[in-house]
């Protein structure tokens, strides 16, 4: 039987290192993706995700299961991302989609950011890439708090109560925030939306 996040965290609190490892496995991908979509820089996203896990580890002795584990985890992640964005406000952190990244530091293997080309037709692939970039840029253009709300709502599938706790706002304020964000996305992605909504 799989242990719940709260149970794992309580086990970490009791000194079980294996439980921390399980939490790391369970949340490393969602956290890195969330942070990557927030800060738009992979290396920075990984650094921030590592910092999140470190903070979870540091807080283990004081951990009380008063809220859902994911609420706590993504609250740490959101605060770190928002602080990082504020710190780098005047720096342009766009990474080229063609820029190679170190996929595995141990063997030094490098690969492009996006996963392999499964499409034999290069034109088709370029069209799809352009489409993805458009979606990425639309998300990127959202104000930081709206962006966090959309990412938590769409990709982490947190409910409204949880997201409002993460963002420290009321549930009605969150609904309004999400509505405005989706409205902006609807306008920004108008050409894609029009064909998809038919």
């Amino acid at each position: 039987m799989t242990r719940s996040d709260v149970q794992l965290m309580l086990d970490v609190k009791a000194g079980d290192a294996q439980s921390f490892e399980l939490l790391l496995q369970r949340y490393r991908t969602p956290l890195v993706n969330f942070l990557y979509r927030m800060v738009r820089n992979r290396e920075q996203a990984e650094d921030l995700a590592q910092e999140v896990f470190l903070r979870v580890y540091r807080a283990r002795e004081d951990y009380e299961p008063s809220a859902k584990f994911t609420t706590w985890l993504f609250r740490i992640a959101t605060n770190l991302a928002l602080n990082s964005l504020r710190d780098h406000r005047y720096q342009k952190l766009e990474t080229s989609m063609d820029a190679p990244i170190v996929a595995d530091a141990e063997d030094g293997d490098e690969r492009p950011m996006e996963i392999a080309d499964e499409h034999p037709d290069i034109e088709q692939h370029l069209v799809e890439e352009a489409r993805k970039n458009m979606i990425r840029h639309a998300i990127e253009k959202l104000p930081e708090k709206q962006r966090a709300a959309v990412l938590l709502h769409k990709y982490q599938e947190l409910d409204y109560a949880e997201i409002s706790k993460v963002l420290q706002c009321s549930e009605s304020a969150l609904k309004s925030l999400l509505f405005r964000a989706y409205e902006t996305l609807r306008v920004e992605l108008a050409p894609l939306v029009a064909s998809a909504a038919k």
Partner: protein, 188 residues
């Protein structure tokens, strides 16, 4: 059919009333604002969903909006999931290993654990309770207590009253002490 943002805002601000021969106001487009996303997500309560669907039957603009919100959600699903780099876990382990062992402050010893605090409070309650109980053994009466007889009351009367000491001459303290010590037996 796509609605421009400016037009959308104007229409959102307007309360659209659906009037017919048998029904009054169903729901304004403005009220849709807070519910549209929950409706698309399938997170509305049964009654709210019914109200929403009634509105959608009579409001083409809101029907378009619902479809477009769904389309936005589908577009967001198209973004690929990235995997953390192979060194990710190793870096987390290194950070955790570099964490200094938390030393307990000496003040921590003063903070009682909940168990100790519970036991201590129970002992305190028991002590107070036992102390407040009346004496149940009548065998020990006041008359049975040993009486101290032949108290030498003279011992008490041997002490000079403080008022007398304050009247002693003040010229030489060592002399006055000696004098007072010598004078005490005379007062007896």
């Amino acid at each position: 059919m796509k609605m421009p943002a400016s037009e959308g805002r104007r229409y959102m601000a307007r309360a659209v009333k659906h009037e017919g021969p048998r029904r009054k106001v169903v729901m304004s487009c403005g009220r849709m604002e807070t519910r549209i996303l929950a409706y698309v997500d399938g997170r509305l309560k049964e009654s709210e969903r019914g109200e929403m669907e009634k509105h959608l039957v009579g409001c083409a603009a809101c029907r378009v909006r619902v479809n477009e919100f769904r389309a936005v959600g589908d577009l967001l699903d198209e973004l690929p999931v990235i995997e953390p780099s192979g060194a990710f876990n190793a870096r987390v382990h290194a950070l955790v290993a570099a964490e200094p062992e938390k030393r307990r402050s000496w003040l921590a010893w003063l903070a009682p654990s909940p168990r100790i605090a519970f036991v201590a409070s129970m002992l305190l309650v028991a002590t107070v309770w036992l102390g407040s109980r009346p004496v149940e053994n009548p065998a020990i009466a006041e008359t049975d207590l040993p009486v101290v007889e032949n108290v030498d009351y003279d011992v008490i009367s041997n002490f000079a009253p403080l008022s007398d000491l304050s009247q002693a001459p003040d010229d030489d303290s060592s002399d006055s002490d000696a004098t007072s010590q010598q004078q005490q037996p005379q007062q007896m």
